[in-house]
C-alpha cells in the first residue's frame, strides 16, 4: 500500500508547495512519467526540454516547473488536433487495432453518439468475420444503440461485408457507416496486408473513403504501442486515435509518444463498457490525470 502510494503521492506533494527546484524533483518527475507508460525516451525528452525552459525563464518554484512540463505536453497534443474532416455522405469510418483493444465497443459508442447527439443515420458493418461471435457481439450492440448492422456472419469474406454495407449505405441514405475489423497484431505481415486490402476495397468502391480511420489503443498498453501505431498508420492510413479503458488505473501515457510519432490527434477516450462511456479527448484533462493520484475505488 505504501509503495503504491509512493511515487504519485510524493509527486503531488512536492509540486503542491513553493519548494525550490532540486535534482530530486526532476527524478520524481521522471518517475511519474515512466510509471504512466510515457516511455524513457519521451520522458527524458520532455524533462530536458522543461529543464531548459525553466533555466531560461529563471523559474524558481517547483510548482511552476511542473506547470511548464504539463504545458509542454498539452501543446504537443494540440499540434495534431483540429485537422479538417472531409464532407461526405456516406461518411465512412474504419476502426482498426490489435486484439481486444476495444474496437467493437468503441463502434457501439460512436454509433450511439452520432445517432443521439447529432441525429445522424448510422449503419454498422460487421467486418470482423474471423473471431468467434464477433458478428453477434456487434449485432447486439447495434440493437442496443438502435442502429442497423450489415453482417454476413462468421467465416464470410470481410470484403464482401464491406461491399454490401456501402451499397446499403448508399441505398438507405445513411450518413455515417462504421466498419468493424478483426483485431490483429501489427507484427503479422499477412494480417496487415489483409487490412490494407480492405482499405483499398473501400476506396475503390467509394472514392475518398474511408474518410476517417480510427486506431484503438488500450490504455494499459506499454511501449509496444508505438510500434502498433506505426504499423497501422502504414497499412490503414490512421487519421485518429482512441484510447480505451481509461476508467481503470492505467494512465495511457503511451498516447503521448504515439501522437508525436505518427502525428495524429488523440480523438476519443473510452471510459467504460456502456454506450455513454465515451469522452472527447481533452489534452489538459489527460495530462492532469497523468500526474494525479491513482484511483482506488469505483463508485
Amino acid at each position: 500500500e505504501k509503495s503504491r502510494q509512493g511515487i504519485f503521492g510524493r509527486i503531488a506533494k512536492l509540486f503542491a508547495n513553493d519548494d525550490p527546484i532540486t535534482d530530486e524533483l526532476w527524478d520524481e518527475l521522471e518517475e511519474a512519467l515512466l510509471q504512466a507508460d510515457v516511455g524513457l525516451e519521451t520522458t527524458q525528452y520532455l524533462v530536458n526540454r522543461t529543464l531548459d525552459r525553466v533555466n531560461r525563464h529563471g523559474v524558481k518554484k517547483a510548482r511552476e516547473a511542473r506547470d511548464m512540463l504539463k504545458a509542454e505536453m498539452v501543446r504537443t497534443f494540440a499540434e495534431y488536433a483540429g485537422q479538417k474532416r472531409p464532407d461526405a455522405k456516406p461518411y465512412v469510418i474504419l476502426v482498426v487495432g490489435v486484439n481486444g483493444a476495444g474496437k467493437t465497443t468503441l463502434i457501439a459508442k460512436l454509433a450511439h453518439r452520432y445517432k443521439n447527439r447529432f441525429g445522424k443515420k448510422v449503419l454498422l458493418a460487421a467486418g470482423d468475420t474471423f473471431r468467434a461471435a464477433a458478428t453477434e457481439q456487434l449485432e447486439t450492440w447495434a440493437e442496443r444503440a438502435g442502429v442497423p448492422c450489415v453482417s454476413l456472419g462468421q467465416g464470410a469474406d470481410a470484403a464482401a461485408v464491406v461491399y454490401k454495407a456501402i451499397d446499403a449505405a448508399l441505398e438507405q441514405d445513411v450518413d455515417i457507416l462504421i466498419v468493424d475489423t478483426a483485431g490483429r497484431l501489427h507484427a503479422k505481415y499477412n494480417l496487415m496486408q489483409e487490412l490494407e486490402k480492405i482499405r483499398n476495397i473501400i476506396a475503390r468502391k467509394l472514392p475518398g473513403a474511408p474518410h476517417e480511420t480510427i486506431l484503438v489503443i488500450d490504455a494499459t498498453t506499454g511501449q509496444n504501442g508505438v510500434l502498433q501505431a506505426k504499423a497501422f498508420l502504414k497499412a490503414a492510413g490512421v487519421t485518429d486515435v482512441a484510447v480505451t479503458k481509461m476508467d481503470g488505473t492505467a494512465k495511457g501515457g503511451i498516447a503521448f509518444a504515439i501522437a508525436q510519432d505518427i502525428e495524429r490527434p488523440i480523438r476519443y477516450i473510452g471510459t467504460g463498457e456502456k454506450l455513454d462511456d465515451l469522452a472527447l479527448f481533452d489534452a489538459q484533462t489527460f495530462v492532469d490525470a497523468l500526474f494525479a493520484e491513482p484511483k482506488t475505488v469505483k463508485g
Partner: protein, 308 residues
C-alpha cells in the same frame, strides 16, 4: 528505439576501454543501458530499480572471463539474474483430488481469457481429461456465444445459464453438473474486470468461495505496460493467484510485464499463449531463459554467449 542492448553495451565499453575486471564506472555506465532496455521492454519501473541495484552490486569487481568481452560479461550476468527473477520453469497445473479440478480465469477486459479457456480445455483433453467449459461472463455482449462457438469448434461442452443468472450460481451449478457427469476439469471463463471495480471483484471472491478453484490464473496481455503490477497485486490480494498466463506472445511485445508480475507477486508464470486460433499448439510451456532473452531483445547474441 529498440536498438539492441548488445550494441549499446558494446558502445559503452568501447568508450571505457575496459578489460580484466569490471570497475564501478564500467558497471554504472552499463546499467544505464540495461535500465533503458528493461523499461523499453515494459518491465515495471520499481522492479527495474531493484533489479539494477542488485545487479550493479553483483557485477562490480567481477572478473571478465577470457572468452568474453566486458559487454558480453555484463549481458551474461544480467541475463542470468533475469532468469532467476522469472522463476522456475514449467510449474504444472495442479489437480484436485478428488476431482473435478476447477480452474478459474481472471483478468482485465480483452486480455484473452475466453480464448485461453478454449486453449486450456484442448490442452487438458489431449492429456486425457474430460473438460467442461463454464460461461460465467454474463456482461459482455455475446460472451457466452463466443465461448459456445469455441466449444463447438473443439467439441468441448459448454455449461451456460444465459445472462440472467449470477456468475457464482452458474459456477456452483456447473460444478454440480460436472460431478454428476464425471468431468475431470471445469474451466470457468469470467468477465473481464478492472481491479478497482469493487462489485465485480467481490463477485470473483464469491465464485471462489462457492467452488474453490484450485487454479486461479491471471491472464495478462503481453503488450501491457507499467499497469501490470498494480493489476496483479490487487487480483492476488482478492483471489490469491496460483499462476499467470501471458497471452498474445505471437506479437513483438517484449513481455516485460511478465517479469514484473512475477517479481512483485511471486506467482509463477504457467503458460505463454500465442495466436488467436484455439486449435493446434497455441499454449507454450514457460521457459525463463527464452523469456529473459526476449525481454532483452537479443535471442541470437545470447546463445553465442551461453556457449562461450
Amino acid at each position: 528505439m529498440f536498438e539492441s542492448l548488445s550494441d549499446r553495451l558494446q558502445a559503452v565499453f568501447q568508450k571505457l576501454g575496459s578489460k580484466g575486471i569490471l570497475t564501478e564506472e564500467d558497471v554504472r555506465e552499463a546499467m544505464k543501458q540495461v535500465r533503458l532496455a528493461l523499461l523499453e521492454a515494459d518491465v515495471n519501473f520499481r522492479v527495474v530499480k531493484d533489479f539494477v541495484a542488485k545487479v550493479t552490486e553483483q557485477a562490480i569487481g567481477e572478473e571478465v572471463t577470457k572468452s568474453l568481452t566486458p559487454h558480453q560479461q555484463v549481458i551474461k550476468i544480467v541475463h542470468q539474474e533475469l532468469i532467476n527473477l522469472l522463476g522456475a520453469e514449467n510449474v504444472p497445473l495442479q489437480e484436485a483430488r478428488p476431482g473435478p479440478t476447477v480452474i478459474m480465469l481472471v483478468g482485465l477486459q480483452g486480455t484473452g481469457k475466453t480464448t485461453l479457456a478454449a486453449k486450456l480445455a484442448l490442452h487438458l483433453r489431449k492429456k486425457g481429461k474430460r473438460v467442461l467449459l463454464v460461461a460465467a461472463d454474463v456482461y459482455r455482449p455475446a460472451a457466452i456465444t463466443q465461448l459456445q462457438a469455441l466449444g463447438r469448434q473443439l467439441n468441448i461442452p459448454v455449461y451456460s445459464e444465459g445472462t440472467q443468472a449470477s456468475p457464482p450460481d452458474i459456477a456452483e451449478h456447473a460444478l454440480e453438473h460436472a460431478r454428476k457427469e464425471l468431468f475431470n476439469v471445469v474451466i470457468i471463463d469470467t468477465a473481464g474486470r478492472l481491479q478497482i471495480d469493487e462489485p465485480l471483484m467481490q463477485e470473483l471472491e464469491q465464485i471462489e468461495n462457492r467452488v474453490h478453484p484450485i487454479e486461479r490464473l491471471l491472464v495478462v496481455d503481453a503488450m501491457t505496460g507499467q499497469e501490470a503490477v498494480r493489476v496483479a497485486e490487487t487480483f492476488n490480494q482478492r483471489v490469491k493467484l496460483t499462476g499467470v498466463v501471458m497471452t498474445k506472445m505471437d506479437g513483438d511485445a517484449r513481455g516485460g510485464a511478465a517479469l514484473s508480475v512475477r517479481a512483485v507477486t511471486g506467482v509463477p508464470i504457467k503458460f505463454l499463449s500465442t495466436g488467436e486460433k484455439v486449435d493446434g499448439n497455441t499454449l507454450e510451456v514457460f521457459h525463463p531463459d527464452r523469456l529473459a532473452s526476449r525481454i532483452l531483445g537479443m535471442g541470437d547474441v545470447l546463445s553465442l554467449i551461453e556457449r562461450a
